[in-house]
Symmetry: C2
Subunit: 147 residues, 2 copies
Amino acid sequence: MNGDERAILERYLRSRGLKMTQARETVLTAFLGLESHVSADAIYEAAKRLDPGIGQATVFRTVKLLADAGLAREACRDDGARRYEHAYNHAHHDHLTCVECGAIVEFVDADIERAQEAVYRRYGFASSGHRLELYGLCPDCAPFDEP
Amino acid sequence: MNGDERAILERYLRSRGLKMTQARETVLTAFLGLESHVSADAIYEAAKRLDPGIGQATVFRTVKLLADAGLAREACRDDGARRYEHAYNHAHHDHLTCVECGAIVEFVDADIERAQEAVYRRYGFASSGHRLELYGLCPDCAPFDEP
DNA sequence: CCCGTATTGATGATGATTATCGATACGGCT
DNA sequence: AGCCGTATCGATAATCATCATCAATACGGG
Ligand SMILES: [Mn+2]
Ligand SMILES: [Mn+2]
Ligand SMILES: [Zn+2]
Ligand SMILES: [Zn+2]
């Protein structure tokens, strides 16, 4: 399972004359060991646990490579920092976020996707992706329940 | 027309014990004179034309007040900088952006809005707003036309 | 094992936004 | 109109995430 991602990264690097290095493998392992929606800095912290000598710049650079290789994807940039999520075996989805506690629900809605395609057609655009974030209050954070 | 916004800002400030000052009026006028999707820095440039002595920090502070007062709204933060658009008499809409030339189409799609409400209900969330950005190639930037 | 080249990590530079702070402008009150 | 406590201003330093630079080092094909 885990080797899949490593192989994908290596193939990607090779195809561009880049090298599979110790540092890059460390960053990949660190990223794969974290759950969704992590900042580059969180990956840096995890990577330092695997190799205390790794540099922050290397992590930023490598995370970008992971994204180019299709292993990571920019999930959101809500606060100040970008957050990444796994992209391998993790299909496209949108996010429903609680503005109170930060809980995140990942969802895919066929009606929304379909309606978006209609918008593209209406304006003669060729689709190249979209970003949808729904904000609201989750059941736990709602002021009170309706009977 | 223009006095409306001034009155709204003044009422908002008054309700919080804040003051309607010369600088704030200058920023408001500068903002109203610009078209949609402007950065705080663009507003600063416009404000300097009205009052060369105005400070950048004041513009950042005031734009945030305009947003709180419901006169401005954060439209997107795609690159590095936030961009604002008029919010008074400018109802909610989403954006379709050309990744090649940057052209922006503002649209509202009833099907999408309806399907979003269904998602909120499905997960028991109370809606508090959303952000949808569609990316693609506009007709002018498409590689070639289909017959 | 060698060598040219890609990579690394420390550090300085960015750019956007925010915090600080002494000086100044508001505006309710007399 | 003049006073005065407080909100605001503008200049400047500080953050924060991310990037660029660069000398030292690690890769990996031959
Ligand atoms: Mn996600
Ligand atoms: Mn808009
Ligand atoms: Zn919640
Ligand atoms: Zn275009």
